[in-house]
Point group: C2
Chain length 186, copies 2
DNA sequence: AAAGTCTTTTGCCATTTGGCAAAAAAAGAT
DNA sequence: ATCTTTTTTTGCCAAATGGCAAAAGACTTT
């Protein structure tokens, strides 16, 4: 829990009571590798913070191929920005994970009680989104080997722990190509 | 100006006085094609709304190539999310543009006077960022022709009005490739 | 240990894209 | 109108990536 608080405090100040309130309203959970945290078509209105492990967001394109849109590593929030709309993606544990989960009522209690809450959360989410955007953006203009090298750098813990297909679809190449690239690098 | 108000009202309510205050604090400006609205290394602390035309955000990669990160079309805001850090990108008019500009003092006046302002603006920015992210994301997993077709669909007004190089670097391919793709499509 | 399943690697070849330079076309300047 | 400059197209060939299927390897289950 300290990890979460520490993380939040980077973006705004909280007093002891507020920190306690956050702790009270949070639930720690575990996810096993491959388990889904959210599924397309179902409602998804929880907010979670990744304490350990990596999640991945994925969807199916019009050819039925599974595309990994991005990975969410430790010390990041996951939430559905469009809570009123049906969720169209999958959130899956790429490795075993420890999460801190906030359920809707608890989350709105925080929002209603802590004056600064919405501002802080907005900052956090915005910041994270910018990072994702930049990372994703830089993939477009590079060749596959460079993309993979950057991936290894950014997610060393995933490189040999998730199926090749996850990484390949994230990088926008086929499994076989990634396999060949991998071979050439070593 | 009505366009801006109408746009904002999609994300929250404003009364007459508030709308008037926004109008009072806004400045209409024009940009000629190719003109820079912001440059890397300089401060950029204005907030602008695109009334007409298209802007593009670009930067130089480590090979000195100019990369178009994304295009900003009508009815969108442009702002620097990290006002305290040096701006590292360029914002350039891809076509002649009409903008509504808010200067720092005016912007903070809105923020200080209109209770809901920050919330509304956050919603707007977040929403726009998600859209950019999704659009950019989908580029990664498609071949160049598909990317170009999607580009045409999304930015029909740009297709024959900006240099090929802007589009090519946005799509992550070379100019010659784009030229060949274009030829095959027609 | 053996059989079955799933993942990764490999071979073969087609297709796509890149790199470079020259030609052609378009836009701008005098 | 002519000359200049910039942008786009094209040709040629190399390199990268994809598609498909078989082989090899890893992991499970019995």
């Amino acid at each position: 829990m300290e990890k979460l608080i520490e993380y939040i405090l980077q973006f705004g100040n909280l007093n002891k009571q507020q920190i306690e309130l956050i702790s009270k309203n949070a639930t720690e959970t575990q996810l096993h590798k491959d388990e889904y945290f959210a599924e397309a078509g179902k409602t998804f209105n929880r907010v979670a913070f990744v304490l350990e492990g990596v999640l991945r967001i994925c969807y199916y394109n019009n050819k039925g191929e599974e595309i990994t849109k991005y990975f969410i590593e430790e010390n990041n929030f996951v939430a559905n920005p469009y809570q009123n709309e049906t969720f169209t993606e999958y959130i899956q544990a790429a490795t075993d994970c420890k999460l801190i989960v906030f359920y809707p009522q608890q989350w709105s209690q925080l929002s209603n009680t802590i004056l600064e809450w919405d501002t802080i959360i907005n900052k956090i989410f915005h910041h994270a989104l910018m990072k994702k955007m930049d990372r994703r953006s830089s993939l477009v203009s590079e060749d596959a080997t460079t993309r993979y090298l950057k991936f290894i750098e950014k997610f060393p813990s995933l490189t040999n722990r998730v199926p090749l297909s996850y990484i390949a679809s994230y990088l926008g190449i086929t499994q076989s190509s990634l396999s060949r690239i991998r071979k050439n690098i070593v």
